[in-house]
């Protein structure tokens, strides 16, 4: 097999520590969403798969990120077990809502970008720097978003320079907004956000933040067809990750299952008999 040659660039063309620029220079066809902006069909000839409700909640020691597991294509369920919460690097995470295909590609590119920067420069970007990078990726997706492939991420991480968790939200144009306490995104986001709003307080302990997140997702699934609730038949539960000073870690499925089952006896049951 012939090995690919080392990429070298003349002065003025060097992509620096940016993997996105490197990709633009040597393999533009591999960019996420490449070609989608050239579609000219007045209406989509097929249903695009969408991921739905995700959230990020700041607590006393960091941030909880969570998402349901459903993906929809129009009125159909495209997946019951899609994952929407990803580690961006050791100390930050990204959760996605919107067109699933481009979203997953965007996350993959973002992960490579953060690691690429770190390896080329010899040190990590600041949390704010990472949030701004993601903003560029969302903006790069704007032409595809205009065709209906909208991707809206949530970004959260632990800021070691300020010793606290931070949450960022985005709009389709790449606009980046730092949230003080929490944010939700996707089709069930209004229900989830209202639920969190009534239960959130400064200095929330981690256990309460996890339960609040699960209850907020349940509330969204209860009111929104696009959001999947806990599936007790197939044992599929929401994805929850914690980001604190020690880094990003996903909660084990058993733990989330046990917490979700507690909902069976909580106010979520309403007046229905057991």
């Amino acid at each position: 097999m012939n090995d690919a040659p080392l990429p070298f660039f003349g002065a003025g063309h060097d992509p620096g520590p940016s993997f996105l620029e490197l990709l633009r220079a040597v393999a533009p066809h591999a960019l996420p969403g490449a070609g989608l902006e050239r579609l000219s069909s007045p209406e989509m000839p097929f249903e695009v798969t969408h991921g739905t409700t995700v959230l990020a909640v700041r607590y006393e020691g960091g941030v909880v990120m969570a998402g349901d597991r459903r993906a929809t294509a129009g009125h159909a369920i495209a997946s019951r077990r899609i994952e929407k919460v990803f580690p961006a690097d050791e100390h930050s995470g990204v959760a996605i809502a919107g067109a699933a295909g481009p979203a997953v590609e965007m996350v993959k590119l973002f992960q490579v970008q953060l690691e690429h920067y770190e390896k080329v420069e010899g040190e990590q970007l600041s949390l704010e720097g990472k949030a701004n990078q993601l903003s560029q990726f969302v903006r790069a997706n704007l032409p595809a978003a205009m065709q209906g492939f909208v991707v809206i991420p949530l970004f959260a991480g632990y800021d070691h320079r300020r010793n606290r968790g931070r949450v960022y939200s985005y709009d389709a144009t790449g606009g980046r907004y730092e949230e003080l306490d929490f944010q939700t995104n996707g089709s069930g986001s209004v229900h989830a956000r209202n639920w969190i709003k009534t239960g959130w307080r400064e200095g929330l302990p981690v256990e309460e933040a996890i339960d609040l997140s699960l209850r907020a997702l349940f509330a969204a699934a209860d009111e929104d067809t696009g959001t999947g609730g806990p599936d007790l038949v197939r044992r599929i539960f929401p994805m929850v990750a914690i980001i604190d000073a020690d880094g990003f870690r996903e909660l084990p499925a058993d733990d989330i299952a046990a917490r979700s089952e507690a909902l069976l006896t909580g106010p979520e049951r309403g007046g229905y008999p057991a």
Binding site: P5, V112, H116
Partner: protein
Amino acid sequence: MNMPFYVSPEQVMKDRADYARKGIARGRSLVALEYDNGIVIVAENPSRTLYKVSEIYDRIAFAGVGKYNEFQMLKVAGVRLADMKGFQYSREDVDAKGLANAYAQTLGQVFTHEMKPYEVEILVAQVGTPEHPNNELFHILYDGTMMDEHRFSVLGGQAEAIRAILERDYEPDLDLGAAITLGTKALQAEDGDPIEASALEVGALERSRPRRAFRRIKQPELETLLG
């Protein structure tokens, strides 16, 4: 019209090789050793920020001696090649052999076709996984010569004296502390002066780490490991 003097190809290559070797010998050497949990690279480097040892990919590290700007450029090109390949194919498809071949090609091309050869020697090291615990050490010279080495690798102008110590004292399955201590002892053979822990740069590819195996070993851990 001036006629250029005839110089035999042998003489041209010899002059270039001498030039490259002289440049490399001006810098300090480094060693890489296989130990019980992977590969450790020990370099004499008083700088805390200008690294000779770096991470390239999940299981792959790079080390260079000689001219800093040249091996730094090679390192960045390697990171780019690896990240591109991993992004376009799969992370599992990135391996040290492909990378080492690309480096050998570039160094060989530059050595024969450019005015000035690179004054560097580089190492591409890859650690296996707990299930497939094979280590690879590719040592590449300024002219593109590539060597597949085992147990340990020595890069630099004074390699002979250092290699003699390792040949004598190296044992398989050293622990991390013993491997760094032996590496440091071997490097001291370069000019006989003791090397302080503060003048060492150490990086390890640790087999037991899940994805990114590379880790820098800094003070005060280094001090403790050296006993």
